[in-house]
Subunit: 259 residues, 3 copies
């Protein structure tokens, strides 16, 4: 590792310099220097390897990396790092309405408490940046059109397999998820899939990755993007979660290649 | 989604209105309005879907839902949402002694750090509500009678399978768990099972659900209750943990039906 | 359970009395008394069972227990309990440089957000104890010698199995992990393995334990130490994670015994 000769460079500036040429730190986000007072090596890896190299790799845009990172952090309830990443995401071109909708989506896919903790962080950052409720997706929104045939097939398949065990689960899977949440227009289906897959990988729900990674690719996530997503998430979800995902991803990639 | 025309309605009031007609918010718990400043949709889902509909469904009492929710949050170390839910649980009829004992139980089933973080939240709420140590289960309590035959059979079975790998684990499983913790009278065995199962599902320890869901039903949790528990936890543990639980629950339900 | 007749005994003092005869509490760490205001039983189990008995058991030194506990807490993002355990670790003989390096190691094995949250806690404790950056491992360090044959074999094996799925993952596994991080001298390979295995068990990444527990034993962790590690982690990672680990540990122990 080589240290960049810029002792006052903060994590936020490092990110901003790298991606949006903004030279301001983010309020309430500890500087890279403070990381260095606990671990100079961690500060250096953050600056040179993660922000300075990984985030700039081809095949996945900084915007998509921000979406995946926020999903991972919210799913893992990591509100500390989230404050930096929400600011960074806004600078990387993720819209306030999209971040808001990511939190809403993850209430269902990562748990209500994760979403409410994340909302508290989001609320503060939005205030600091004067982002008002008029920029956020309304509760009532005109939904995207539904592919009835596909959705009915999904519902029937799940009912055949799981009917009678917990019918409330199946009811809300249909009513709240696939006929409501997934059709809300504030987040494109491809991005909603990116959020879902990132959350699953980040929390080690490997047995659910197969369905949602396939769906993500149906929704437009390319194989190079999915592949690079695994590389990116290695840093934010930890290596073990990625190595557990590799064999599942392999099968999904093979299935899609032979379609 | 339809917004209820009550802009000052808070999460706590929404809950209180729905379940105990109490019209006060809880100290330190952010209002539903604040949720709305990050995501109007999340605030609306919380109010109309989760508090306004799910919590009122039949087959599982608000008291049992509160026990399951607290168990899920403690197991996931979600101290933010926990503050609301502890207040809400007290209003739903869960006794202070029971909440205290849930935390103690989860020290063993979810990890010591989860219990100590939760205890800090609990301690504050108890102070705010003037709940003194005289209302809490003492460290030394007369234990419930033990079914020696069943416990010996369990210990022998585990010893046959796992003897010699980590004998300290087996020693404390017997001494600290099944001959002490599980016999403490502050939480009925059925409720202790409800806590354990909820914690396992909420943390994705699916491979341990089979034993404990079976035990929960032996301890008096009915099939409709167990089924509705999965529906409830979908919202607090996230959909993926529930879909991973469904096949395990199915086998337990079948086994119990044929007994 | 028997309460020790010392109502002013704090968690920190209990630990200090037990292990280093130091009679001071740690700044910012709630006293055992406060635990008792939420759960007298939890305070008592902490004092008499965990600190008073488990930490003193043979086969694993207090220093190793501190390393394992810190790894478990960082991997689970439990910054509350971490503050006590970092202080306790320093009193148990873990060097500041080692704790710093554990955090760096876990950035890769548990996720970047876990490491940055932990670094914030570490930074405060280091300030309180006047531990300066001169006592911490530098970003640039002369690396331990690499066993090229073993590392090439590992890289080739992984490439055969996983090549083409996410080549960035394999690239950084080689470049950042096995040819850099694992060779940093601030943490002995045996301790690095202890950290990795503890983190895997604590987060339920059971499918990755086999490789790393085997590697830990190759790096010098004895079978009695590994066995006692499971007993220790039962308390910090929760019983379910340990019971899921037992069958995997059994196979690793058998394989090592027949080598």
């Amino acid at each position: 590792m080589k240290r960049i000769a810029a002792p006052l460079l903060t994590a936020a500036i490092a990110g901003a310099l790298a991606f949006s040429a903004q030279a301001e730190t983010y309020p309430g986000v500890p500087a890279l220097e403070e990381l260095g007072s606990a671990s100079p090596a961690l500060a250096d890896y953050t600056e040179t390897l993660v922000l300075g190299e990984v985030w700039k790799r081809a095949d996945l845009s900084p915007r998509d990396r921000s979406i995946a990172t926020i999903a991972a952090l919210v799913a893992r309830n990591q509100t500390g790092e989230l404050r930096f990443q929400v600011n960074f995401a806004l600078d990387n071109g993720v819209k306030p309405s999209e971040i808001s909708e990511i939190i809403t989506h993850l209430a269902f896919y990562a748990g209500w408490g994760n979403a409410t903790s994340a909302a508290a962080v989001l609320s503060e950052v939005f205030k600091e940046r004067s982002i008002g409720e008029d920029q956020l997706p309304p509760a009532d929104a005109e939904l995207l059109p539904l592919d009835e045939a596909t959705e009915n097939a999904r519902a029937n398949r799940v009912d055949e397999v799981y009917g009678g065990i917990a019918d409330g689960v199946l009811k809300y899977t249909t009513e709240a998820l696939f006929r409501d949440l997934w059709l809300r227009p504030a987040l494109a289906p491809r991005d909603r899939s990116l959020v879902t897959v990132s959350a699953l990988i980040a929390t080690g729900k490997i047995e659910q990755v197969s369905f949602h990674l396939g769906k993500a690719m149906d929704n437009g996530l390319t194989k190079p993007e999915a592949s690079e997503l695994l590389t990116h998430l290695a840093f934010y979800a930890g290596w073990p979660n990625i190595f557990s995902t590799l064999p599942v991803a392999e099968k999904v990639f093979e299935a899609k290649a032979s379609q």
